[in-house]
């Protein structure tokens, strides 16, 4: 396959070395070092390790006993359900609708993608203003419709909703674009043939669009699962340090808190390792549930 001009391989090292040096030094080495760190005792970010932890797995037993960590696990799993059903679900609905209109599709593609381009931190500030207790946008709207009491969207019980709604909202457009692209790849002949046979729009969606979109939807679900584990910026801006009362911890925000607020470097390394394990297990799980089908 290789062209004759690419037989001489003496110089390729100059092309490969810079990129792979970066990848090895800033990804692979830290990744392995992090696993080591999680079994060590380290008193601060800038200080050297004091040796192995006693017992060497102590950070992991501590992790299992840490109630905040379990809150973080629970919230991360809730976040995962929200991203899978909320983001991909709404996106699928919007994509199927867009597929049915004759003009305006481009406008919706551009507009739905807005929030993804904006930094999650800016969105966090924006939603702080929208959900403000006394009185942000939502409470003002409620007042217009005659609600008497203000709702504190950051109080216990409702805080998780206030944190997850913007995260969900932000990425709908992302999956929307993927799904719309998938729908565009379905040949219009199929719909025409179905229409001639008398299939209604609903039947066309059910028997043509959805089955042919299956693999694309699976891709979206895998992305939503891995994405849910990476969420950090927006929750940290809206609910720093697990406020209120450590109710809103996510694995990522709790890890950051342990580094900078508790200064427990080895423990947060262990959390980092657990995030990786969680990610691998969950994507394996999703992949087996939604095994790709060939058509």
């Amino acid at each position: 396959m290789t062209s004759h001009i690419y037989k001489n391989k003496k110089l390729i090292i100059f092309f490969l070395a810079p990129a792979f040096l970066f990848i090895l030094v800033f990804l692979y080495y830290p990744f392995i070092k992090n696993i080591f760190n999680s079994f060590q005792e380290i008193s601060g970010l800038g200080s050297a390790s004091k040796g192995w932890a006693d017992p060497w797995y102590s950070n992991y037993t501590m992790l299992l006993k840490d109630t905040n960590m379990w809150v973080a696990f629970r919230n991360t799993l809730i976040m995962l359900v929200v991203t899978v059903f909320g983001q991909v679900g709404i996106a699928l609905l919007l994509a199927l609708l867009t597929d049915r209109i004759t003009y305006g599709a481009k406008f919706f593609r551009i507009v739905y993608f807005f929030p993804i381009v904006i930094s999650a931190t800016a969105l966090g500030l924006l939603f702080n203003l929208i959900f403000l207790y006394d009185k942000g946008m939502i409470n003002q709207i409620r007042e217009i419709f005659g609600a008497a009491a203000l709702v504190d969207f950051k109080s216990k019980g409702i805080a998780l909703f206030t944190m997850m709604a913007p995260v969900m909202w932000q990425y709908v457009g992302f999956y929307f674009i993927i799904l719309v692209t998938g729908l565009n790849n379905i040949s219009s002949d199929l719909y025409e043939a179905a229409a001639i046979d008398g299939a209604t729009s609903y039947q066309q969606v059910k028997f043509i669009s959805l089955p042919l979109l299956r693999n694309v939807t699976c891709t979206c679900i895998v992305l939503a699962v891995t994405g849910a584990l990476k969420v950090f910026d927006l929750p940290w801006t809206m609910f720093p340090k697990g406020l209120p009362n450590g109710e809103t911890w996510l694995t990522g925000t709790y890890m950051y808190y342990q580094v900078f607020n508790v200064n427990d470097v080895d423990y947060s390394s262990a959390i980092g390792v657990v995030i990786v394990i969680l990610g691998v297990l969950l994507s394996k799980l999703v992949n087996t549930i939604f095994k790709e089908k060939e058509f």
Partner: protein
Amino acid sequence: MKAIAINKQKKVSLGQSIILLLLSIWALTTIYPIIWVVLNSFKDRRFILSNSFALPLGEIFTLDNYRLAFERVDILNAYKNSLLISTSVAAVVILLAGLAAYVLARYEFRLKKLLYNLVIAGMMFPVFSTIIPVFQMQYSWGIVNTSNLFLSLLSTALPQIAGNLSFAIVVLMGYIKSIPIELEESAYIEGCNIFQIFFKVIVPLTKPSFATVAIFSFLWSYNDLFTQMFFLRTKTQWAITFLLNQLTSQEGTNYGLMAAAVTLVVIPILIVYIFLQKYIIKGMISGAIKG
């Protein structure tokens, strides 16, 4: 047959308006909050709290929030830092990824499979699992926790470059593979060496893909709060995302200033997005799908 067709068209147009209505409702949720925050950035705090839906006209209108943003918060300095970090990230990423992708796409050699797998696996590492050792390493090099502005910005940019390289290599490889090899062969016959082939043939032909990758890396770096929080320490070093985050804790109740700061960060990005949306959407999607 004709009757059926007409009947169907009528039905469609009614259905169409309902569909358009539904789609517009979601569009409203993505557009209106931004318009709302821009309008409120021109109002005093008490007007935001009493009636945030009024237009900032007449005596409600004020530029105080912006004055504060530029004077007390020094948002321009944060912009400058952000641009420095993110432009260098984008530039280094496309250069290094371009070189590596070219060789991986065109050559056959023993370690190729291994290197390719290294790249693919490199996309899976969550930043949470690498950031502490990266900090320790850069600390030992003396480039973090210093008052030197340049070194601090560098310490933020380096891990971001590494984080974007894998994605960039995969995207560029895919594109370079689709370029017909004959052009490179004729350049070779003309006497070009592989460096000349890369810079004179590959780079110009791969431009659209380079643009996609550069824009994605830039945006990703510009928006990435986590890395900035680790490496930027003093106020003069803050980049824009970190500054916003600090604002919430320090000026949490100055809602007018918040609205102005959000506007100042969001509007330039949205303008760029509207002009380059084709590349941006493509970049964001290819970045994720290939992973």
